[in-house]
Amino acid sequence: MRGEVVIAGIGHTAYGKLPGRSPTSMNVEAVRLALVDAGVEKDAVDAVFVKYPTSQHISMYGQVVAEALGLHPRIGGVWDQGGATNISMITFAAMAVLNGQCEVAVVTTADNPRTGTRQAYERGWGDDAVFGWFGTPAGYAMIARRHMEEFGTTHEQLGEIAVAARGHGAANGDAQLRLPLTLEQFAESRPVVDPFCRDDCCLISDGGAAVVVMSRERAAQLAVPAPVPILGLGQGQTSWDVPLRPTLTETAAASAARTAFAMAGMGPGDIDVAQLYDCFTITVLMTLEDYGFCPKGQGGPFVAGGNLQLGGELPVNTSGGLLSETGMPGMQLVLESVRQMRGTSTSQVPDASTCIVSNQGGIMHTHSTMIVGQL
């Protein structure tokens, strides 16, 4: 499968507060722009893969979006792995393309938790709400604390991740938050759920984003101007909820990356730039470890000294990620990987020819990995 499927086009709405926009209307806009970018007519599309909107469950949502797009897919539907969904849907679309189930797939996501409801991110965890156990940030904070205690990871090292993302976001005209951050400002950021302060936590955003997926051969037939080949794909999951997870400091990123690197015939040393899911700073640090960019427990020293910034050893989240571009769960990272391979990022890594992207969901429950690159 390596290199046989391409991302042919990318599109996204504005990011931030989009009052009055429904997830469906944002999906339609994102798909329209992705098709324009690919230079492909809508009628060529025969598959529609849709991430369910986290903040509101809508039954048969894949069909709702397909109807709004005026399409009658041969294959598709709605998928739910939380934030791992988008790369996972690209994986299923790629497999469908290569196995004769469809020719041109759109993969799309949209949600409006900023102006709509944030209830999905703030709910109590079942009967444990009696202990004050609420919300997504605290689950990640629980993992971060264990990592800090076990390996000596410091809050300042987590700050390096936020500083890199915010610097890249400031350079991105489409980013929701264009405010650079220093380590000193990070240290003074308001505590939210210790060990996290506000600047450890992603934005909350309205918006939509989509990609067009097809075979390399079909892209050539359709004269797609700037297709980016997919070199590796992989997924991994743990089912244990945070309180029950035997080892809090290891994640399914390791198994997802093993599969993706094996498919690509590559290792961490072959990667020029990375887009790593940064719902919280700790997520990036542990993904770097589980992907093999550094040994387990050494994520703190690895990110220190500006190593993730443009010009560092491994530039990460070059459009700002969830911490600065948009809190959208994952598709913006896919779009930025395509821009890096096209040479059109606002924080372009010179001569970058490979990019790894992570998506992950729940509280490090699900993980999906994609490697793109020029063949």
């Binding site: 965890w125 709400a129 202990f131 004050g132 604390r145 264990r146 308001r190 505590p191 939210v192």
Partner: protein, 134 residues
């Protein structure tokens, strides 16, 4: 003031909550493979055998991790911030979410703790405090 959200007692979880009301912390053990766990399930998540047994915990454990809320996500906890929530692993193996009844500066991973059942809105819940030495 908004009330703290209380557990929803179901036929599955009733032995757990009634045990606490009677002064003991219970967990489930598989009669087939010996696996032990919380929270309550209908079947063993290791061997899938049905009808697990309830067993009394000794009440000792250790801290796996903890967080400190500085902002109350739920308004019932607004006058309690900062407050901690911790994961404790019982000596018998099961893990649970709880609060540790000490100042946050005392907390550390692997700290031995012991059970302290307290009343919260009329429901007996399991909290922990640092274990007495010896």
């Amino acid at each position: 003031m908004t009330a703290v959200p209380l557990p929803e007692v179901t036929p599955l979880t009733e032995p757990y909550w009634s045990g606490l009301a009677e002064g003991e912390l219970r967990f489930q053990r598989c009669g087939s493979c010996g696996n032990a766990w919380l929270p309550a399930r209908d079947a063993c998540p290791r061997c899938l055998a049905p009808e697990p047994l309830w067993e009394r915990a000794g009440g000792r454990g250790r801290i796996i991790s903890w967080v400190v809320y500085h902002l109350a996500v739920h308004e019932a906890f607004a006058d309690r911030v900062p407050y901690n929530v911790a994961i404790v692993e019982l000596d018998e193996g099961p893990r649970l979410i709880t609060n540790i009844e000490v100042p946050e500066s005392v907390l550390s991973i692997e700290l031995p703790v012991e059970l302290h059942i307290v009343d919260e809105g009329g429901v007996a819940i399991p909290r922990f405090s640092p274990a007495a030495v010896g």
